[in-house]
Symmetry: C2
Subunit: 142 residues, 2 copies
Amino acid sequence: MSIKTIQEIRAFNRFYTDLIGLLNKHLLNSAYSLSEVRVMYEINTAREAQASHIMSAMDIDKSYLSRILKKLEKDRLIARKASEQDGRAIVLSLTGKGEKLFKELTNATEDQIGGLISHLNSKQQQALVAHMQAIRKILQDN
Amino acid sequence: MSIKTIQEIRAFNRFYTDLIGLLNKHLLNSAYSLSEVRVMYEINTAREAQASHIMSAMDIDKSYLSRILKKLEKDRLIARKASEQDGRAIVLSLTGKGEKLFKELTNATEDQIGGLISHLNSKQQQALVAHMQAIRKILQDN
DNA sequence: TTTATTTAGTGGACTTTGTCCACTAAAAAT
DNA sequence: ATTTTTAGTGGACAAAGTCCACTAAATAAA
């Protein structure tokens, strides 16, 4: 394992951290924080999500999550109902309003990514995606 | 520009955000925050850095930076001296203690990255780095 | 089956992180 | 000479995140 390899990875981490930070910064004019949106994402993706699932998926503090859910519920973006299998658990779902907002945020993000790659030709775009998939595959487990 | 392309990039962004988040989480047992360490990094890299330079490099609020510098100076990790060319500006540098700490933090991070790729064989590691370099090259400007 | 333990979630109190704005002082522009 | 811009500081606050004690249900152990 060469030091050069590690330094190259760290350089990429800095580069990509900055890039994502930049992208996120612009999205933060929304009334919802990254964590809040990510919670909506988890609920939308899991369909019938439980708080404990989101907690481990996001590696987030449970009391913090509890507060986020409270806010989202207050804004009528999510609904909670008691689980039938487990009396302690609560099943979460996006409301119509929540789905609508989530879709808007998704569109905004997609536009932004679109802008990021708009100056690339089709071949470059395909190459970019291929590199990303390759990295994910290599690092997948662990 | 295909929607599939954009979604693939977003999937990578989520993946990499989580990965970096995980790496960072473990480093945050240090007495210094990511931003503070990044400030040290900028000072160390620039040699004779000015606050305004760090501000734009990190895209960070100037008052926030001012406070970070105050803390680092109080801990004798950085030194400030008035710029000779510009009476408003202050030239920053790491002290010996600062360099030592920064080196320790760097080593810890490198070890961590090492752990991340330790289960990969040499060929896989080289491929990983190559993909990262390719992505950086493609996205470099903008 | 009652008693202990684990799991799911809430809320109080707090720290850390980051932002906004008004300010001083020097430099540069008009 | 006066205005405007640039560099940095500090007060006051908001947002984000953590720690801990708690309730209540589910599961395991005696």
